[in-house]
């Protein structure tokens, strides 16, 4: 039963007000099956039809429609985000997850699983010219790309492979082409759709691992689970699912075995000792064996990973600030003291980088630049991107600070025989820096926090770490507090240091001022 609102039940007044709405929603919930999935890079599961981008297609979409029909409901697709599927389900944004979801032990603590409807295998993909990788074992010491929070990523993590998590398969395969990762491990459906026809990539070795896709449901929705299980059995037995999978080229022996088993189940025969098919809750039953990737959440390990993420955040912040300070100075000088064309260029640069979101700039650098032949790894892209962005701001800080130094300071330096460069370095810059220090510190603290946009290009910094670990565990609250503490521990000392620098300068001046007043 789709329980839409859990909060309002506690408030009678609100209940009265919302009653019509709730009744309506619940009535609606009985006739619809709202299912959540991530359509971005979601082929062949569910994705925007390239020919009609406003409609979604995919084998799972067709399957959910068949399921809903079997349940006497109408399927309603709720586009969502892969990483937050579980928490969105818990929040009631939809009733079921149908997105090639694999039963894992940590998910089993949070949600219910239906019976498996698809038996998937994993496939390694490498670049066409790769000759050293034929199996997962060959990937030791190399970087393997995969989707975050999948059986594949758990497998890699458990067995200690170095891997990079992506939000969608497109990014993973593109980075493979660009050499940002050495191999990609992905479920066969995705591999089929995104990699098999790519002439620059090839499959390495045979598919391996046995896993299953299941429908995910809220812990409290036992009744709906029974309904879904029955519908899954029905569409498998009556061949509806087979038709759909054949149409999508996804039918193979593993699916045939699954069908045979379900049919035998229905006719009272047992499937024989093919292994334990427990999906955590042990209710999925059935004989087709699949490996349950059962890495459970390990707090010690999580803290280590958070620590590593914090280091990357620090690297990003300091690196980007160094870029911003150096480039900002060049821009400021070009804008204020260079020839007209350089001033014009600098102004255009500043307006461009201040006028467009840093997120868009990062995405452009990460995905757009490789088209021009420049492929930087994610962390470097984030460092350079943030640096370029903050350079625009720092240039204006410099400019204001340079303007604050009287023109006469330049002239005094020139008349002492200094060249413009020497005058700038010895006379102007020290005075300007004093003016610039407080705003620059503020910018640095902002930059520190802005490193979090790097999650958009799969850089494992603190925000990404938070998102991925929290999604894996559901510990949004506790991990949120921990991550906030990490940020604070790093940014507070910075702010403190800057304040002290400022104070010291002021004190030095005040001290000599006092002396002056004492002396007659």
């Amino acid at each position: 039963m789709g329980r839409l609102f859990s909060g309002p039940h506690a408030r009678p007044a609100a209940l009265v007000l919302l009653a019509p709405l709730i009744l309506f929603s619940q009535a609606r919930a009985q006739t619809t099956l709202r299912w959540g999935a991530d359509p971005s890079g979601g082929a062949p599961y569910v994705f925007a039809d390239p020919a009609h981008p406003e409609t979604y297609v995919g084998y799972e979409k067709e399957m959910v429609e068949a399921l809903a029909a079997a349940m006497g409901r109408r399927a309603e697709f709720v586009p969502s985000d892969w990483e937050t599927l579980v928490s969105s389900l818990e929040r009631g944004q939809f009733d079921v997850i149908v997105n090639g979801l694999e039963p894992t032990a940590d998910r089993a603590r949070l949600i219910l699983f239906s019976k498996p409807y698809y038996a998937f295998r994993l496939q390694i993909t490498v670049r066409r010219e790769e000759e050293k990788i034929d199996s997962l074992e060959d990937c030791r010491g190399r970087t393997v790309g995969t989707l975050v929070n999948t059986a594949a990523s758990r497998l890699l993590e458990r067995d200690g492979y170095r891997y990079k998590g992506y939000q969608d398969p497109v990014g993973a395969y593109r980075d493979l082409e660009l050499g940002r990762v050495d191999a990609v491990l992905m479920d066969v459906p995705m591999e089929m759709y995104y990699a098999r026809r790519n002439p620059r990539l090839k499959a390495a070795g045979e598919p391996f691992h046995r896993g299953a896709y299941v429908v995910g449901l809220r812990k409290t929705d036992e009744a709906l689970k029974r309904e879904v299980d029955a519908a899954v059995d029905k569409i498998i037995r009556d061949g509806t699912l087979e038709q759909i999978l054949r149409r999508w080229n996804l039918w193979d022996e593993a699916q045939a075995a699954l069908k045979v088993e379900r049919v035998q189940e229905a006719t009272g025969q047992t499937a024989g000792a093919q292994g334990e098919g427990s999906a955590g809750e042990g209710e999925t039953g059935g004989g087709v064996a699949y490996d349950l990737t059962s890495t459970t959440f390990n707090w010690g390990e999580a803290l280590v990973r958070l620590g590593r993420a914090a280091l990357i955040t620090i690297l990003l912040a300091f690196g980007a600030m160094a870029v911003a300070l150096a480039l900002g100075l060049v821009l400021a000088v070009a804008q204020a003291h260079g020839p007209r064309w350089s001033g014009w260029l600098a102004t255009a640069y500043v307006e461009f980088f201040r006028g467009t979101p840093v997120l868009v700039q990062l995405l452009f650098l990460y995905f757009g630049l490789p088209k021009l032949g420049v492929a930087m790894p994610g962390w470097l892209t984030a460092l350079v991107g943030l640096g370029l962005n903050y350079a625009a701001y720092e240039s204006q800080v410099y400019r204001a600070a340079l303007d604050a130094v009287p023109r006469g300071q330049w002239e005094a330096a020139y008349l002492l025989g200094m060249s413009p460069v020497l005058a700038f370095r010895r006379v102007i810059m020290p005075q300007a820096l004093r003016v610039a220090l407080p705003p620059m510190t503020n910018d640095f603290v902002s930059l520190f926090k802005d490193t979090s946009v790097a999650f958009a290009i799969s850089v494992w910094e603190l925000a990404t770490a938070y998102r991925e670990l929290a999604n894996a565990t559901g510990e949004f609250l506790l991990l949120g507090v921990i991550v906030s503490v990490f940020y604070l521990v790093m940014s507070l000392p910075l702010a403190h240091l800057a304040r002290r620098l400022e104070l010291r300068m002021r004190r030095r001046r005040d001290a000599s001022l006092e002396l002056a007043e004492e002396a007659p």
Binding site: L415, G417, R426, L515, A516
Partner: protein, 246 residues
């Protein structure tokens, strides 16, 4: 030795200097007097190369700037010229991030490449000469106006210029400090410096300047021996100015 021949300078359409001609003999002081906007500060800026001249020629410390020179040659000569010409601005423009001592050693160490220890010894000597040896470690804003001016003078002297230019040196001084400054500058003449002092204070140039130039609207009104100009001005405009100044 300073020589100025038909010096012209315009800012856009405004002619600020309309053909000045004068000379300052070695070890003498020229006082340039005139009201606000007469062009006397611009004259100084042409003498030290801060402004490019539009007509005529300027010569100081053996370096000659001519309006007809090409840009790069002009710039090269300005650089040379500045080795011989020191200046004390009306607003001083001490370097606020450096101590008095730092202000004085800055150019010798970083421009003339004198060894720091040597530069420091000489700077302390110069600061001592203007009575500021004890305050060498103070920052400029911890010094009084008069003290700041003396630091600025020491800073200019540290580069051993032959010619010293002063722009309104008395504007921030009380009468006692003014006469002290006059004595100090006289001492520089004895040490071999040639000076141009721009001021509107008649009492200051009286007894300091050897010759006087009175200008109005970018033109020489009266130019001659200081005593003569002060005691017996020929031009009625000079007489008028002097009568207000007393």
């Amino acid at each position: 030795m300073i020589r100025v021949e038909n010096l012209e300078k315009s800012y856009g359409d405004v002619r600020v200097l309309k053909g000045l001609t004068f000379a300052v003999e070695p070890r003498t002081v020229l006082g340039v007097i005139g009201g606000s906007g007469s062009g006397k500060s611009t004259l100084l800026r042409c003498l030290n190369g801060l402004e490019r001249i539009d007509g005529g020629a300027v010569e100081a410390g053996g370096v000659r700037l001519e309006a007809s020179l090409g840009a790069s040659e002009y710039a090269r000569r300005v650089k040379q010229l500045r080795r011989h010409v020191g200046m004390v601005f009306q607003h001083l423009y001490l370097f606020p991030h450096l101590t008095a001592l730092g202000n004085v050693t800055e150019a010798p160490v970083h421009v003339a490449r004198v060894r720091p220890a040597e530069a420091q010894a000489r700077a302390l000597e110069l600061l001592g000469a203007v009575g500021l040896r004890e305050k060498a470690d103070r920052f400029p804003d911890a010094l009084s106006g008069g003290e700041q001016q003396r630091v600025a003078i020491a800073r200019a002297l540290a580069m051993k210029p032959e010619v010293l230019l002063f722009d309104e040196p008395t504007s921030a001084l009380d009468p006692r400090r003014t006469s002290e400054l006059r004595a100090t500058l006289r001492g520089f003449v004895r040490d071999g410096h040639t000076m141009v002092v721009v001021t509107h204070s008649m009492s200051f140039v009286d007894g300091l300047a050897d010759s006087l130039l009175y200008m109005e609207a970018g033109e020489t009104v009266e130019y001659g021996e200081a005593e003569k100009v002060l005691k017996d001005p020929r031009d009625p405009r000079t007489r008028e100015f002097l009568s207000h100044a007393r």
